[in-house]
Amino acid sequence: MAVQTPDDVVRVRQLVRVCAVKAGLGLVDQTKVVTAASELARNTVDYGGGGSLTIHCIDDGARRGVRLVFEDHGPGIADIPMALKDGYTTGKGLGLGLGGAKRLCNEFAIESHPGRGTKVTIARWK
């Protein structure tokens, strides 16, 4: 789905919640992954110039969960370790979004190159 506007951030939360429920995640796990998605969606809109979210429902026998891929073609992140530090923000935020999303999820991966955009992948298992 497109993640371009603040209203899309609301839609992301609703859609991720539905998928998390479908994947059988408990309430606390649902809350964690939806909160992480909210942070990343907001980043995509505020810093990435808008982008997209792809949701994968995982059920491979061994485990069930959701994997989310946030992608944008914005300015990219020059210093990823710095961006992951709590409190660091290039905008008006609290600087908790990236690091927070990482803490809230079982899997976290980020690819970003200045001028070429950013891709963040997170996953939460049951």
Partner: protein, 131 residues
């Protein structure tokens, strides 16, 4: 919904957040609350978040701001009704909400505000030491 309603509850203001907030709504709420605190000389602001399934850093920042603005205007802010899953997630997210007090519900929040107000009144007008 264009604005979040602010109710007067005794000498406090009560705000119930029930919708998914976007930036404009959050800014409008902060401005409305600030005006109302001054207009009513409110002693406290109660923010009921019992309907929120998610509190992310955007909402967290809004709560921090409201608490800071209220403090400058001599009012206490108490956030009430936080859901357990939200509390667990906030801690892991790293949102400490240090400037924000919390209470289980509106009644306890009001009691908290009244107690703090009374304590401050006693400090301001101490008993005569000669007595």
């Amino acid at each position: 919904m264009d604005r979040i309603p602010i109710l007067k509850l005794g000498s406090s203001l009560l705000v119930t957040i029930q919708v998914d907030m976007h930036d404009r709504l959050a800014t409008t709420l902060q401005e409305d609350l600030t005006n109302r605190i001054v207009a009513h000389s409110a002693r406290g602001v109660l923010i009921d978040i019992s309907a929120l399934e998610i509190v992310d850093s955007f909402i967290g920042r809004m709560l921090d701001n409201i608490a800071a603005i209220s403090r400058i205007l001599d009012a206490r802010t108490v956030v009430v009704g936080m859901r357990p899953a939200v509390a667990i997630t906030l801690v892991e997210l790293g949102l400490t909400l240090q400037g924000v007090q919390t209470a289980l519900n509106v009644e306890r929040g009001m009691a908290m505000i009244a107690r703090q107000d009374e304590a401050l009144t006693q400090i301001a007008a101490p008993a005569d030491p000669a007595e």
